[in-house]
């Protein structure tokens, strides 16, 4: 693929380092902030891959909305104290998790490298997308024509999520435990 190797490897290295920091860090607040860095490097890689709308949405939705929600909850619960839970989990579980991950990563890489690219290419070449008005316009036209049913169903999902989140986070219901 014709993407800049310098930018790709830089962003990929940053993302891998920061995701290790997210997982193996004691303090939830610094985990959350390294997760923001991971999201930004992912947005950079989306932009490299010509997915401009997705790159913008990544910053707005993930780095904007979801991370603010996370940090807000951490601050609300006063949970920004170091948690020493890594030392408590069994060495056996850690070994199994690491072993399975490395094994499956090797398998995935092998499959990605060896699998033949025999599928017919679609109509959306870079030139075709440029000619019909850019990534955002082409995606929007698809969203409101071919993908209109999933788009409308998304609104029901969001409504259910709003109702669920409010019901869960509300103060005590009468007589209930929560």
């Amino acid at each position: 693929m014709d993407i800049s190797p310098l930018f790709f490897y830089g962003l990929a290295g940053l993302a891998i380092a920061c995701s290790f920091w997210v997982v193996f860090n004691r303090n939830p607040v610094s985990s959350a902030f390294s997760l923001v860095l991971v999201f930004f490097s992912f947005a950079g890689i989306y932009a490299l891959l010509d997915a401009h709308l997705i790159a913008t949405l990544q910053i707005l939705v993930y780095a904007g909305a979801i991370m603010v929600l996370f940090i807000f909850v951490i601050m609300l619960l006063n949970a920004d104290i170091p948690s020493f839970d890594l030392a408590r989990s069994h060495l056996f579980v850690k070994c199994i998790a690491g072993f399975i991950s490395v094994l499956l990563f090797g398998l995935f890489t092998w499959v990605f490298q060896k699998s033949p690219n025999s599928r017919a290419l679609g109509p959306f070449t870079v030139e075709a997308i440029e000619a019909s008005g850019g990534n955002t316009q082409v995606l929007s036209e698809l969203l409101f024509s071919e993908y209109i049913l999933p788009f409308e169903l998304t609104s029901i999902l969001l409504l259910a999520a709003i109702v669920g989140a409010v019901a869960l986070a509300k103060r005590k219901l009468a007589g209930g435990r929560f």
Binding site: M1, L77, I162
Partner: protein, 101 residues
């Protein structure tokens, strides 16, 4: 020097498995939710890479819907964390044992 598609896809699986390790070995429920976000992001990048490689925008549409589901998931998940913290005064998954007692 060119970046081959399988290099980008392998990078996605690195991030995915870091997230998986996080879900398996951490006990802090906030970190577990963050690891799930990492895994969802890795899958999104896989979709975008295939969309670029196969010149088909269906992958980018899938990412659009996955982002919506991820936002809904983290809102409900953090609501659960708040409810849990109000009951147990803790965000540790080892303290959740109502069903065991």
């Amino acid at each position: 020097m060119k970046v081959e598609p399988w290099v980008v896809l392998s990078f996605c699986s690195v991030i995915f498995f870091i997230g998986l390790i996080g879900v398996l070995i951490r006990r802090n429920i906030l970190i577990i939710l963050m690891s799930i976000e990492l895994m969802l992001n890795a899958v999104n990048l896989t979709f975008v890479t295939f969309s670029k490689q196969l010149q088909d925008l269906g992958g980018q549409m899938s990412v659009f819907f996955i982002m919506t589901v991820a936002a809904a998931e983290s809102a409900v998940g953090l609501g659960l964390v708040i409810a849990l913290f109000r009951t147990l005064r803790s965000v540790d998954t080892d303290d959740i044992r109502f069903l065991r007692e």
